[in-house]
Symmetry: C2
Subunit: 452 residues, 2 copies
Amino acid sequence: LEPREGLVEELAAVVGPNNVLEDEHARADYEVDWTGRYKGRARLVVRPGTPEEVARSVVICGQGGASIVPQGGNTGLVGGAVPVNGEVVISLRRMNRLVEVDAGSGQVVAEAGVTLATLAGAAAQAGWRFGIDFAARDSATVGGMIATNAGGLHVMRHGSMREQIIGIEAVLADGQVIGRLSGLLKDNTGYHLPSLLAGSEGTLGIITRACLKLVRRDSSRASALIGVDGPEQAEEIVNRLRQSCESLAAAELILENGLSLVLKHQRRERPLPEHPAYVLVETASNRDAETELVDALADIGVVSAVLAAGANEQRRLWELREGLTDAISAVGVPHKFDVSLPAGRIRHLMAKLPDLVAAIEPNAVIVVFGHLGDRNLHINVLGLGRGDGRVDDVVLRAVLREGGSISAEHGIGRAKRRWLPFDRSRADLAAMRAIKASLDPRGIFNPGVLFA
Amino acid sequence: LEPREGLVEELAAVVGPNNVLEDEHARADYEVDWTGRYKGRARLVVRPGTPEEVARSVVICGQGGASIVPQGGNTGLVGGAVPVNGEVVISLRRMNRLVEVDAGSGQVVAEAGVTLATLAGAAAQAGWRFGIDFAARDSATVGGMIATNAGGLHVMRHGSMREQIIGIEAVLADGQVIGRLSGLLKDNTGYHLPSLLAGSEGTLGIITRACLKLVRRDSSRASALIGVDGPEQAEEIVNRLRQSCESLAAAELILENGLSLVLKHQRRERPLPEHPAYVLVETASNRDAETELVDALADIGVVSAVLAAGANEQRRLWELREGLTDAISAVGVPHKFDVSLPAGRIRHLMAKLPDLVAAIEPNAVIVVFGHLGDRNLHINVLGLGRGDGRVDDVVLRAVLREGGSISAEHGIGRAKRRWLPFDRSRADLAAMRAIKASLDPRGIFNPGVLFA
């Protein structure tokens, strides 16, 4: 469909002329993702200021035959919020108000454009904490985090973004506004639309506001880096800690070649003797997190570990984990994967990957780290041509053979939709398409995302 | 549609003649719910033994023009699993195998007919615990618990049934089987169908198996009954405990007239001086739950409370809460409500209820208790005619005026569908109907449940 005449004027009448960006220069920011990998052309960028303006903009676009790319902080990793060719970008960034922070009950109502950092700050000020945290906190927005079901470091403790939602408000393709924000912790009154929209990547509706739960703040934290003989022992230690250690808050896997890379990149001394792999664990509680961590590690017979004493040492330890991405990028442009695996399968995948990748490029280097508590691995392959798609096929097929998922937390977007039919069954995909068609029959929301 | 000839024979060929119940006497158990309030007539009862038999039965019923009522333990409270007039009941009770209990990772794969008690027992044997518990544990089944998004005593700590799901397998109206059971803790690959089916009350598909997460077992438990001056103070105490007390596991509200009833019914002494209301709290941890509870109560300045010393006293204290239903039933047949409220609104509702109910019946008695941590109230009205629907309208409208939900955890079923249009917006209901039509276009699953 060719967008009809007068679209700009109609949208300008709703959101104000300053919030309809036609100019190439003004649009540029919205046409490329932050990694620079996904770039397209938007016909227009619309910046509504209220849920009603979103709804009216959707109706106008729908009537005008224009498809819509909803966009939050534009920090997604799979090209799910970037226009391709002539869509209207609806940016939620102007809608950045914290509508209500209830310090008593620990609930927040936020507009879709509120950043994770703003949300976390407001939660702390009210004496609580938000359960999700990750590196892109200054740009990622509430709406985008729901649309992609964002994860991060604390999913093993608090769940992913879907589990933080008390209620949402969203605009559907017909301009109707669904959801409620009154703050009901339990509500079994029909289909749970918030859970369906979480992870729908902008293909079913535009999230405009959300009521989110906050979690208890911890007064005490402790971290330790544990040396292990490989992924199998790493997974076993985490399973045992999950059973015995109430204050376990994070468990990250680092392999020796990754630790070496980051130590060299950060010009640091090795914190404990060399092991094939390491587990970085964190406890957090209102009591003495350090004693709890030490006791838990002793209980399960951990012999090789370094404990971070005090906040500064803890930060230094976590810089090893958080510095991995930079250390890898300093070596070259990696092929990146974000996969998850069934229980006990990490070691199988890890054992097979080297040969599979070497068959494509003998000098390729594989650096694996990830959220071990969720069996979520971030696999990086260095030393390949940027456009060489063979490794993607090989790695993702190996993951699928182990019963794994091709996207643990980043989503499908445009980047991985080619592999989706190998990940989800035909019946699942047919159900997804039926749901998509039922809520967005003309396919105006995010065409090309999830579905080819 | 009139079911076609040969249906019985075709179904018998799939599930075996003994598992197609035509006889009135054999059907009887499946035609009435456990409360005796919902009763209908099934054309047939089919008892498949495998997911494949479920799928084939659904196809045969679909082709034969027979609609289907999926049924688990038949312990629902809203008539959502009982036939009305000539449907085929597909009972999942024969599918009661625990397919896999992974003691290492704390995950279980169970068939839909596994009871909560069986699941809890298997979890305990493996060194873990299942996060959901409630009174109907010997009859409620995994499939029914997912279909109704069951709640219970520990939702404030572990979430409802939806949050316990790692994966499901379900049969859709066309006989296709969706979902996966490989056990992925994180999986952002398109629409999350398990979350949509959770709480769909058998209207979208028949759940055949589920992969469920287990939670850490606690070695130490403590309980206390706190006297408070009313619902407002009760809610405030729970909010503050949620902020400060990591091991908080349950928080139940009891009002003085309820406590009086149950004390009289159980012929027991009053455990602490009379107060307008009480909060029964429980802590559970791997450390010293009693010290943690005592410290937490002291921290927030609780002055009137009785602590249960030891397991026996704890059980005695919880019998007060769990005996409320029996104590109420001993007085008469109550009108029952299961509602939830926004933060701070319980006291508003409680203040208004007496006048609203008295206007219908001056001698009516209102007994309220509930899961305070979820702001989920169970409201019982005694002293009305059984068929007097006026009180339902009055109470539910008062709940809706406070922004509450007409069904916190029991669902809509047939019992509450009349009020659903007052609870959910027209846009929500239209979206629900569109989803229903997309997955079950001929409406063969549970006609009359959720939607009129």
